[in-house]
Protein backbone atom coordinates (compact mmCIF):
# COMPACT_ATOMS: atom_id res chain seq x y z
CA UNK A 1 0.00 0.00 0.00
CA UNK A 2 1.39 3.35 -1.06
CA UNK A 3 0.69 6.34 1.13
CA UNK A 4 2.88 9.00 -0.45
CA UNK A 5 1.78 12.53 0.29
CA UNK A 6 1.85 15.49 -2.03
CA UNK A 7 4.31 18.32 -1.62
CA UNK A 8 4.38 19.46 -5.24
CA UNK A 9 1.23 21.49 -5.78
CA UNK A 10 -1.83 22.27 -3.73
CA UNK A 11 -2.86 20.73 -0.44
CA UNK A 12 -1.51 17.33 0.57
CA UNK A 13 -3.52 14.28 -0.49
CA UNK A 14 -2.91 10.62 0.22
CA UNK A 15 -2.17 8.62 -2.88
CA UNK A 16 -4.88 5.98 -3.43
CA UNK A 17 -3.44 2.50 -2.94
CA UNK A 18 -5.22 1.21 -6.06
CA UNK A 19 -3.43 3.67 -8.32
CA UNK A 20 -0.82 2.03 -10.60
CA UNK A 21 2.85 2.80 -9.93
CA UNK A 22 3.31 4.56 -13.29
CA UNK A 23 0.91 7.38 -12.37
CA UNK A 24 2.42 10.54 -10.95
CA UNK A 25 -0.45 11.24 -8.56
CA UNK A 26 1.40 14.08 -6.85
CA UNK A 27 2.01 15.73 -10.22
CA UNK A 28 -1.73 15.97 -10.94
CA UNK A 29 -3.50 19.27 -10.27
CA UNK A 30 -4.86 19.43 -6.72
CA UNK A 31 -8.51 19.77 -7.80
CA UNK A 32 -8.18 16.70 -10.01
CA UNK A 33 -6.62 14.77 -7.14
CA UNK A 34 -9.53 15.84 -4.95
CA UNK A 35 -12.00 14.68 -7.62
CA UNK A 36 -10.32 11.28 -7.84
CA UNK A 37 -10.34 10.86 -4.08
CA UNK A 38 -13.93 12.04 -3.66
CA UNK A 39 -15.51 10.14 -6.55
CA UNK A 40 -13.34 7.16 -7.39
CA UNK A 41 -12.23 6.05 -3.93
CA UNK A 42 -15.76 5.34 -2.60
CA UNK A 43 -16.61 3.47 -5.81
CA UNK A 44 -13.47 1.35 -5.40
CA UNK A 45 -14.41 0.52 -1.82
CA UNK A 46 -17.94 -0.48 -2.74
CA UNK A 47 -17.40 -2.26 -6.05
CA UNK A 48 -14.00 -3.85 -5.51
CA UNK A 49 -13.10 -4.14 -1.85
CA UNK A 50 -16.52 -5.44 -0.78
CA UNK A 51 -16.68 -8.12 -3.48
CA UNK A 52 -15.04 -11.52 -3.84
CA UNK A 53 -12.38 -12.09 -6.49
CA UNK A 54 -13.83 -13.23 -9.79
CA UNK A 55 -16.38 -11.95 -12.25
CA UNK A 56 -18.07 -9.52 -9.89
CA UNK A 57 -14.79 -7.96 -8.75
CA UNK A 58 -13.40 -7.65 -12.28
CA UNK A 59 -16.61 -5.90 -13.32
CA UNK A 60 -16.22 -3.59 -10.32
CA UNK A 61 -12.63 -2.82 -11.31
CA UNK A 62 -13.79 -2.03 -14.85
CA UNK A 63 -16.42 0.41 -13.58
CA UNK A 64 -13.90 2.08 -11.28
CA UNK A 65 -11.37 2.47 -14.08
CA UNK A 66 -14.00 3.92 -16.40
CA UNK A 67 -15.11 6.30 -13.67
CA UNK A 68 -11.51 7.36 -13.21
CA UNK A 69 -11.20 7.98 -16.94
CA UNK A 70 -14.46 9.93 -16.88
CA UNK A 71 -13.16 12.21 -14.12
CA UNK A 72 -9.99 12.85 -16.16
CA UNK A 73 -11.95 13.68 -19.32
CA UNK A 74 -14.39 15.92 -17.46
CA UNK A 75 -11.55 17.76 -15.82
CA UNK A 76 -9.90 18.44 -19.17
CA UNK A 77 -13.16 19.62 -20.75
CA UNK A 78 -13.99 21.86 -17.80
CA UNK A 79 -10.56 23.40 -17.96
CA UNK A 80 -10.81 23.95 -21.72
CA UNK A 81 -14.05 25.87 -21.35
CA UNK A 82 -12.32 28.26 -18.99
CA UNK A 83 -8.96 28.65 -20.68
CA UNK A 84 -9.19 28.16 -24.43
CA UNK A 85 -10.38 30.56 -27.08
CA UNK A 86 -13.34 30.11 -29.42
CA UNK A 87 -11.31 29.52 -32.59
CA UNK A 88 -12.48 26.67 -34.89
CA UNK A 89 -9.42 24.56 -33.96
CA UNK A 90 -10.04 24.88 -30.24
CA UNK A 91 -13.71 24.15 -30.73
CA UNK A 92 -12.95 21.06 -32.80
CA UNK A 93 -10.56 19.84 -30.12
CA UNK A 94 -13.20 20.42 -27.43
CA UNK A 95 -15.81 18.56 -29.47
CA UNK A 96 -13.44 15.61 -29.82
CA UNK A 97 -12.92 15.58 -26.06
CA UNK A 98 -16.67 15.68 -25.43
CA UNK A 99 -17.14 12.73 -27.82
CA UNK A 100 -14.42 10.83 -25.99
CA UNK A 101 -16.13 11.55 -22.68
CA UNK A 102 -19.46 10.32 -24.02
CA UNK A 103 -17.86 7.06 -25.18
CA UNK A 104 -16.37 6.54 -21.72
CA UNK A 105 -19.73 7.29 -20.07
CA UNK A 106 -21.50 4.85 -22.41
CA UNK A 107 -18.95 2.13 -21.63
CA UNK A 108 -19.36 2.78 -17.92
CA UNK A 109 -23.14 2.55 -18.33
CA UNK A 110 -22.81 -0.87 -19.97
CA UNK A 111 -20.40 -2.15 -17.33
CA UNK A 112 -22.77 -0.89 -14.62
CA UNK A 113 -25.73 -2.60 -16.33
CA UNK A 114 -23.73 -5.85 -16.32
CA UNK A 115 -22.96 -5.35 -12.63
CA UNK A 116 -26.69 -4.93 -11.88
CA UNK A 117 -27.49 -8.02 -13.98
CA UNK A 118 -24.96 -10.00 -11.96
CA UNK A 119 -26.65 -8.90 -8.73
CA UNK A 120 -30.03 -9.82 -10.22
CA UNK A 121 -28.68 -13.22 -11.27
CA UNK A 122 -27.46 -13.86 -7.73
CA UNK A 123 -30.83 -12.85 -6.27
CA UNK A 124 -32.64 -15.26 -8.58
CA UNK A 125 -30.28 -18.23 -8.42
CA UNK A 126 -28.48 -17.75 -5.12
CA UNK A 127 -25.07 -17.80 -6.82
CA UNK A 128 -23.20 -15.81 -9.42
CA UNK A 129 -22.55 -17.39 -12.83
CA UNK A 130 -19.78 -19.87 -12.27
CA UNK A 131 -21.00 -21.05 -8.90
CA UNK A 132 -21.95 -24.40 -10.49
CA UNK A 133 -19.05 -24.77 -12.84
CA UNK A 134 -18.13 -28.48 -13.34
CA UNK A 135 -21.66 -29.95 -13.59
CA UNK A 136 -23.01 -27.06 -15.64
CA UNK A 137 -20.22 -27.61 -18.15
CA UNK A 138 -21.42 -31.17 -18.61
CA UNK A 139 -24.96 -29.96 -19.23
CA UNK A 140 -23.72 -27.26 -21.60
CA UNK A 141 -21.69 -29.88 -23.46
CA UNK A 142 -24.73 -32.18 -23.75
CA UNK A 143 -26.95 -29.48 -25.29
Amino acid sequence: MDTKTNHAAGPAAIRPYWMPEGVDFDGLPSDLRAGILTLVNPAYEELVLRTKPGLEQSTGVTIVQLLWLEVLEMFEIGRDFLHTDSSPDSRQERDAKVSRLLRVVAAKGKASAFWIRLQDFRERHGVLPGGYDPIQREFAGAE
Binding site: A9, P20, G22, V23, D24, G27, L28, P29, L32, G54, L55, S58, T59, V61, T62, Q65, L66, W68, L69, L72, F75, E76, K110, F114, R117, F121, H125, G126, V127, P129, G130, G131, Y132, D133, I135, Q136, R137, F139, A140, E143
Partner: protein, 149 residues
Protein backbone atom coordinates in the same frame (compact mmCIF):
# COMPACT_ATOMS: atom_id res chain seq x y z
CA UNK B 1 34.82 61.16 -6.60
CA UNK B 2 35.54 57.75 -5.13
CA UNK B 3 32.57 55.61 -4.13
CA UNK B 4 32.17 54.57 -0.55
CA UNK B 5 31.89 50.83 0.13
CA UNK B 6 28.13 51.14 0.64
CA UNK B 7 27.65 53.03 -2.58
CA UNK B 8 29.67 50.40 -4.45
CA UNK B 9 27.59 47.59 -2.94
CA UNK B 10 24.37 49.43 -3.77
CA UNK B 11 25.50 49.88 -7.36
CA UNK B 12 26.35 46.19 -7.64
CA UNK B 13 23.02 45.18 -6.11
CA UNK B 14 21.14 47.39 -8.55
CA UNK B 15 23.10 45.79 -11.37
CA UNK B 16 22.21 42.31 -10.14
CA UNK B 17 18.58 43.32 -9.67
CA UNK B 18 18.61 44.43 -13.26
CA UNK B 19 19.92 41.00 -14.28
CA UNK B 20 17.11 39.32 -12.34
CA UNK B 21 14.55 41.63 -13.94
CA UNK B 22 16.02 40.89 -17.37
CA UNK B 23 15.93 37.15 -16.72
CA UNK B 24 12.29 37.30 -15.54
CA UNK B 25 11.39 39.39 -18.54
CA UNK B 26 13.19 36.99 -20.91
CA UNK B 27 11.39 33.98 -19.43
CA UNK B 28 8.00 35.67 -19.79
CA UNK B 29 8.70 36.79 -23.36
CA UNK B 30 10.04 33.36 -24.38
CA UNK B 31 7.51 31.34 -22.36
CA UNK B 32 7.24 28.63 -25.04
CA UNK B 33 11.00 28.14 -25.06
CA UNK B 34 11.33 28.09 -21.27
CA UNK B 35 8.25 25.91 -20.80
CA UNK B 36 10.38 22.88 -21.66
CA UNK B 37 13.75 23.78 -20.25
CA UNK B 38 15.76 26.12 -18.06
CA UNK B 39 16.66 25.99 -14.41
CA UNK B 40 18.26 28.12 -11.75
CA UNK B 41 21.50 26.59 -10.57
CA UNK B 42 23.80 27.58 -7.79
CA UNK B 43 27.57 27.47 -7.74
CA UNK B 44 30.33 28.20 -5.27
CA UNK B 45 33.69 29.87 -5.61
CA UNK B 46 36.74 29.74 -3.47
CA UNK B 47 38.77 32.80 -2.68
CA UNK B 48 41.89 32.70 -0.51
CA UNK B 49 40.80 29.42 0.98
CA UNK B 50 37.27 30.65 1.70
CA UNK B 51 34.20 29.15 0.12
CA UNK B 52 31.97 31.90 -1.25
CA UNK B 53 28.43 31.67 -2.51
CA UNK B 54 26.05 30.44 -3.48
CA UNK B 55 25.92 32.36 -6.75
CA UNK B 56 22.90 31.79 -8.96
CA UNK B 57 22.61 31.40 -12.72
CA UNK B 58 19.71 30.84 -15.06
CA UNK B 59 20.88 27.91 -17.20
CA UNK B 60 19.37 26.81 -20.51
CA UNK B 61 20.34 25.32 -23.86
CA UNK B 62 19.92 27.00 -27.19
CA UNK B 63 21.13 25.85 -30.63
CA UNK B 64 22.88 22.91 -28.96
CA UNK B 65 24.85 25.11 -26.61
CA UNK B 66 24.62 25.56 -22.89
CA UNK B 67 23.92 29.21 -22.01
CA UNK B 68 23.61 30.94 -18.69
CA UNK B 69 22.62 34.29 -17.29
CA UNK B 70 24.32 35.31 -14.09
CA UNK B 71 21.81 36.33 -11.42
CA UNK B 72 24.13 37.17 -8.53
CA UNK B 73 24.06 35.90 -4.97
CA UNK B 74 20.72 37.33 -3.92
CA UNK B 75 18.51 34.44 -2.85
CA UNK B 76 15.27 36.42 -3.29
CA UNK B 77 16.22 37.29 -6.86
CA UNK B 78 17.04 33.67 -7.61
CA UNK B 79 13.73 32.61 -6.05
CA UNK B 80 11.86 35.10 -8.22
CA UNK B 81 13.46 33.69 -11.37
CA UNK B 82 12.80 30.13 -10.17
CA UNK B 83 9.11 30.92 -9.52
CA UNK B 84 8.74 32.54 -12.93
CA UNK B 85 10.24 29.44 -14.51
CA UNK B 86 7.93 27.18 -12.51
CA UNK B 87 4.92 29.14 -13.72
CA UNK B 88 5.77 28.73 -17.41
CA UNK B 89 6.79 25.09 -16.89
CA UNK B 90 3.70 24.16 -14.89
CA UNK B 91 1.28 23.85 -17.80
CA UNK B 92 3.26 21.32 -19.91
CA UNK B 93 4.01 19.32 -16.76
CA UNK B 94 0.32 19.33 -15.83
CA UNK B 95 -0.60 18.17 -19.33
CA UNK B 96 2.11 15.50 -19.20
CA UNK B 97 0.95 14.15 -15.83
CA UNK B 98 -2.69 14.01 -17.00
CA UNK B 99 -1.68 12.37 -20.26
CA UNK B 100 0.41 9.75 -18.41
CA UNK B 101 -2.46 9.16 -16.02
CA UNK B 102 -4.91 8.63 -18.90
CA UNK B 103 -2.45 6.26 -20.58
CA UNK B 104 -2.06 4.25 -17.36
CA UNK B 105 -5.84 3.98 -16.85
CA UNK B 106 -6.40 2.84 -20.44
CA UNK B 107 -3.65 0.27 -20.12
CA UNK B 108 -5.16 -1.04 -16.87
CA UNK B 109 -8.58 -1.07 -18.47
CA UNK B 110 -7.33 -3.24 -21.34
CA UNK B 111 -5.78 -5.66 -18.87
CA UNK B 112 -9.00 -5.82 -16.83
CA UNK B 113 -11.07 -6.35 -19.98
CA UNK B 114 -8.91 -9.34 -20.99
CA UNK B 115 -9.27 -10.77 -17.49
CA UNK B 116 -13.03 -10.21 -17.59
CA UNK B 117 -13.30 -11.92 -20.98
CA UNK B 118 -11.47 -14.97 -19.60
CA UNK B 119 -13.73 -15.05 -16.54
CA UNK B 120 -16.86 -14.69 -18.69
CA UNK B 121 -15.70 -17.53 -20.94
CA UNK B 122 -15.07 -19.72 -17.90
CA UNK B 123 -18.73 -19.44 -16.85
CA UNK B 124 -20.20 -19.70 -20.34
CA UNK B 125 -20.83 -15.99 -20.88
CA UNK B 126 -19.38 -14.00 -23.78
CA UNK B 127 -19.11 -10.43 -25.00
CA UNK B 128 -21.06 -10.00 -28.22
CA UNK B 129 -20.77 -6.46 -29.51
CA UNK B 130 -21.40 -4.35 -26.46
CA UNK B 131 -23.63 -6.93 -24.76
CA UNK B 132 -22.97 -9.92 -22.53
CA UNK B 133 -24.64 -13.05 -23.93
CA UNK B 134 -25.18 -16.59 -22.68
CA UNK B 135 -27.18 -15.91 -19.52
CA UNK B 136 -29.58 -18.78 -20.12
CA UNK B 137 -26.88 -21.43 -20.22
CA UNK B 138 -25.15 -19.82 -17.24
CA UNK B 139 -28.02 -20.78 -14.90
CA UNK B 140 -27.01 -22.92 -11.93
CA UNK B 141 -27.16 -26.67 -12.23
CA UNK B 142 -30.29 -27.06 -10.04
CA UNK B 143 -32.21 -24.60 -12.22
CA UNK B 144 -31.20 -26.52 -15.32
CA UNK B 145 -32.47 -29.79 -13.82
CA UNK B 146 -35.76 -28.12 -12.86
CA UNK B 147 -36.14 -26.72 -16.35
CA UNK B 148 -35.58 -30.18 -17.83
CA UNK B 149 -38.53 -31.39 -15.73
Amino acid sequence: MPHSVDEENLEKLESVDQKVRDAVSLIRQQADFFSHQGSVQESWRSYKGRRLGPYYRLVFRTVGQQRSIYLGSDQDGASLVRETLQLVQQEPRRQKSISECRKAVRSELKRTRRQLQDQLAAVGLRIQGAEIRGWYSARPQTDVIEAMG
